[in-house]
């Protein structure tokens, strides 16, 4: 093995090589391989086959395969789309406003971000929520020059972003076509026991492979409840079963949370958890687990290093020994509703450690995109625009009608998208949706489902004559009975929504 760092530009294979060094397990295994196989005295000329089988024996193959796959994906991600100036500006403003808000809450309380909390005044308020983020996005003008006439469109998102059209969506989500049997649909029908059994068998084989793209492909058709815990882990490039190292790492985070409390930040996370989880019919038994997970998350610098996007600004605090620490270490500031991303996992995994790592993986890949102000495709603004464009093309009459009663459709759909439907769907349905988000590693189904719900309710919505009526019909509680797959299939593959 060549250990020298190449001077030439980084190519995928050299990136793979250097990554192999960074992973201690792989590094040791490769040394072991080298020692026993390549340099052993009684070695015969080695064929690719014998090296391959030795690697398989050492358990290297799945790890290297998944590593290679994830590297190839990140190459793809690093597109060079030019930043839109006003979006950049908005992002900086947003981060700054959160930063300022946090500090002002601290000073209202009379405490510094870390340190003894002797303040009598326990007053606290959220530093921001979905509505604030929505406002920040709505404010973004369509162009940096004031030529408003070019920006005429009916949606709230004024930016001119190109969004996928119907046929692009049909191609991308072809696995969801009704001709394919899948979970969320086919397991509920007469004679479904064969399908269920088959799906279970395939799932078990997929898990034995433990190869990321195969697991993702499997997830696109929906996952049986018994297999979901492990499939999610593999899709997130984690070993299917949790190991001792992960357990230790999680415990160290919890220790950090106990030993050094973040004033205000921790309280906000706890308040969020307390308010949302104890009032939840489904999640209340897991209040403590979820609170522990969110506090541990805020101590984890892995998040800021590995998330596709950094949503917020951490506060840099100078400690007494001269070192600086970021608060929170994860780079994710607390906001109202954050624990919604964690809660559904408490019904998938019984124990905190597994909830933690899957949540962390999902945040770093998916949820961070919902909380960043960026013009990149697949992130929040782009998803919102996709929603508006889709609804306008699928049901222009409805879109106009809603505008005529002073309801911008995005004003209702925004929280659905921002919180990935956690505040709308019943958990079983939500997890079926999340199966697809994880399987496609893409959030595009969020605006697609949002637009599909509007069209599903179209007849009733066309009869409304006031904003309040619209809100009642699309009330989050009415979403409790929605079935995700039929609605998605009808919207994507139904003929009349061309």
């Amino acid at each position: 093995m060549d250990h020298t760092t190449p001077q030439t530009p980084v190519t995928p294979s050299s990136a793979l090589l250097s990554s192999l060094h960074l992973d201690p397990f792989l590094h040791l295994s490769l040394l072991h391989l080298k020692k026993n196989l390549i340099h052993s005295p009684k070695s015969t000329p080695h064929t690719v086959e014998s090296i391959k089988s030795a690697m398989l024996e050492l358990g290297l193959t799945p790890k290297i395969r998944n590593l290679a796959y994830s590297l190839s994906c990140s190459e793809k991600d690093r597109k060079s789309t030019p930043e839109i100036l006003q979006v950049e500006q908005a992002r900086d403003d947003w981060k700054q406003s959160i930063y300022d808000e946090l500090l002002s809450v601290c000073s209202e309380r009379g405490v510094s971000i870390i340190g003894p909390d002797s303040a009598q005044n326990k007053k606290i308020r959220y530093i921001f929520d979905s509505e604030d983020l929505f406002d920040a996005i709505k404010r973004i003008p369509c162009s940096s020059n004031m030529n408003a006439s070019l920006c005429h469109n009916y949606g709230l998102i004024k930016l001119r972003l190109s969004t996928p059209d119907h046929s692009a969506l049909r191609t991308k989500f072809s696995e969801l076509h009704p001709c394919n049997r899948q979970y969320g649909m086919d397991e509920t029908f007469l004679g479904s026991s064969k399908f269920i059994q088959h799906r279970q068998e395939v799932g078990v084989k997929v898990l034995q492979e433990s190869y990321v793209p195969i697991s993702m492909q499997y997830a696109r058709y929906g996952i049986p409840a018994g297999l979901r815990p492990e499939i999610y882990r593999v899709c997130l490039n984690l070993p299917r079963r949790i190991g001792a190292k992960e357990g230790e790492y999680y415990n160290s985070l919890r220790e950090k949370a106990k030993n050094m409390r973040y004033n205000v930040v921790d309280e906000l996370f706890e308040m969020d958890s307390q308010t949302i989880i104890s009032n939840s019919m489904s999640f209340f038994p897991f209040l403590e687990n979820i609170t522990n997970v969110v506090l541990a998350f805020s101590r984890d610098s892995w998040v800021v290093q590995n998330s596709t996007y950094t949503a917020h600004e951490s506060i840099k605090y100078e400690m007494s020994d001269g070192s600086t620490t970021s608060i929170p270490s994860s780079g994710v500031q607390p906001f109202k509703g954050f624990v919604n991303y964690i809660a559904p996992l408490s019904l998938v995994y019984e124990d905190e450690e597994r909830i933690y790592f899957t949540f962390r993986g999902m945040y770093s890949r998916l949820w961070c995109k919902l909380n960043v102000i960026s013009s990149d495709s697949g992130t929040l603004i782009h998803l919102c625009k996709t929603f508006e464009d889709l609804l306008l093309s699928w049901d222009p009459a409805l879109f106009m009608h809603l505008l005529s009663v002073n309801v911008a459709p995005l004003s209702i759909a925004f929280t659905w998208i921002h919180l990935a439907f956690t505040n709308v769907l019943e958990t079983e349905q939500l997890l079926l949706l999340w199966d697809r988000l994880v399987g496609y590693d893409d959030l595009l189904l969020l605006p697609v489902l949002s637009a599909a719900i509007f069209t599903f309710r179209s007849e009733t919505l066309m009869c409304t004559s006031s904003a309040q009526e619209v809100k009642d019909i699309l009330d989050n509680n009415s979403g409790r009975r929605l079935k995700v797959m039929p609605i998605l299939q009808a919207a994507l593959f139904g003929e009349c929504f061309k």
């Binding site: 509920t188 409840a225 018994g226 489904s282 209340f284 038994p285 019984e350 009733t460 003929e495 929504f497």
Partner: protein, 460 residues
């Protein structure tokens, strides 16, 4: 997979014969959910002693008055005369043990061994010596329950014999004011289940609802859903913590006084939610077996008392079964209530209880609307009709209906649905759950296929 014994055919169910025409007249002293349901049916309240069609009575009334009354054929009463055979803890245990011995005598040893779903129990003071012998042999944690208590009053835990030698004199342990119980200080002592199955680190017990319309022959309807009632504090099996009655006792009445009791959720899970959770933890097969066991507990306990119950075609009864699951996933029968609480602690609770009570009245069928061969009424399934009733083939793969979704279909006349929002909404997708093996919701399929049809002319 357990074998079904097969039904011996539909049994004649007395219907509304002899009832005067006009609205149904009901009598009740309750003022909560059952009252709302009776009114919502459009029935008329009466406080006449004799001129009523349905009386939803308190058990005290039955003890005091029923024996002296003559009932018309069409009248219906919500209690059997001697329901104490199943509801009083000491009598229930006696009947279960008796049935077990009877099965052994008959040579049905395998079935007899199945009667192991009640924790080791002794009636006090009568069986005190036997209890002490068992205690000395095994030790462990025990629970003392006054036989007439409800809502958790007077119940306590102990692990040392010395703790109970004081129990008669200590003011804490005096039972409540139960005027109908002559043996006011009779208790049952039961081995405590110290290894409960925990969810989120919390202990819970289950409340299931069962309607019996006849004991001989035995007709049993079981409600598909029910509650898992959680404690608010994390469970701790450290014996020194046994005085924390909040942690151990799950009756809602007791939980309500805990400092961190949450008014909004009432600390309950729908049975279906528990089933889905168990499926994702243990898989469908294991979960199915647990729910099957719970159903068998219900049937076996009713079979045990069916011979001593005074059958009466005027009577029906709604039982609340309390069951606990241990960490080996074995369900245990804790007790049976003939007057399960009908008050609601939350909105969802209210709706669930109203729907259930409405179904109970539909089963009783004073108006004679049923044909008599139904196996499903609302959320209830006829599980035993003088023999096991075969499962609906559409539920293939599941051994019982317990915990599956209830398909109520599109709303009918709107009566009795006060708490549902009256909205201009298209009929929802069946309202029931989309669970594996459940019967296809034809109304839902209809709706979606229409949706797909009008849209999907070009589908290949």
């Amino acid at each position: 997979m357990p074998k079904h014994l097969g039904s011996s055919g539909p049994v004649h169910r007395p219907k509304g014969e002899g009832r005067a025409s006009g609205p149904v007249k009901f009598r009740t002293s309750f003022s909560n959910t059952i009252y709302d349901v009776l009114c919502a049916k459009g029935w008329e309240e009466t406080d006449s002693e004799h001129d009523w069609d349905v009386h939803w009575a308190e058990r005290e009334w039955v003890f005091e008055v029923f024996d002296q009354m003559h009932l018309e054929p069409h009248q219906r009463l919500n209690h059997f005369r001697n329901a104490k055979e199943i509801c009083r803890k000491d009598l229930l245990i006696k009947n279960l043990k008796k049935r077990k011995r009877q099965l052994e005598k008959e040579g049905s040893y395998e079935e007899a061994t199945q009667y192991d779903f009640f924790p080791v129990t002794f009636n006090l003071p009568r069986e005190y010596a036997l209890f002490v012998e068992e205690f000395k042999r095994q030790g462990g944690l025990w629970i003392m329950k006054p036989i007439g208590s409800a809502q958790g009053k007077g119940i306590f835990l102990f692990s040392k014999l010395s703790e109970i030698s004081e129990w008669r004199t200590d003011y804490r342990y005096r039972p409540g004011n139960n005027k109908q119980e002559k043996e006011a200080d009779a208790y049952v002592v039961q081995r405590y289940i110290n290894n409960p199955y925990l969810v989120g680190g919390k202990k819970f017990d289950l409340r299931l609802y069962v309607v019996v319309t006849s004991f001989s022959p035995l007709n049993v309807w079981i409600y598909r859903t029910g509650f898992a009632r959680f404690t608010n504090t994390r469970y701790n099996d450290d014996v020194s913590d046994i005085t924390n009655s909040f942690m151990h006792l799950t009756n809602v009445a007791i939980q309500k006084t805990a400092d961190d009791y949450d008014k909004r959720t009432g600390g309950k899970w729908d049975l279906r939610r528990l089933k889905l959770h168990m499926i994702s933890q243990f898989g469908a097969e294991t979960t199915d077996a647990v729910f099957w066991e719970m159903q068998m507990i219900i049937i076996r306990s009713l079979l045990s008392v069916s011979s001593v119950m005074i059958n009466d075609k005027h009577c029906f009864e709604l039982y609340g079964y309390d069951i606990m699951i241990d960490d080996t996933l074995k369900p245990w029968l804790i007790e049976v209530n003939a007057s399960p609480s009908l008050s609601a602690s939350t909105q969802e609770d209210y709706v669930m209880k109203c729907e259930m009570l409405n179904d109970v009245l539909d089963i009783v069928d004073v108006e004679g609307k049923l044909k008599g061969d139904e196996e499903h009424v609302g959320g209830f399934d006829l599980v035993y009709e003088n023999g096991f009733v075969d499962m609906d083939p559409k539920h293939r793969g599941w051994s019982s209906y317990l915990g599956s979704g209830i398909d109520r279909g599109p709303k009918k006349n709107g009566k009795g649905r006060r708490q549902q929002q009256q909205q201009a909404q298209p009929p929802e997708n069946g309202g029931g759950g989309g669970e594996m093996g459940e019967k296809p919701r034809l109304a839902a399929l209809d709706q979606y296929s229409k949706f797909l049809q009008t849209a999907a002319k070009g589908l290949k």
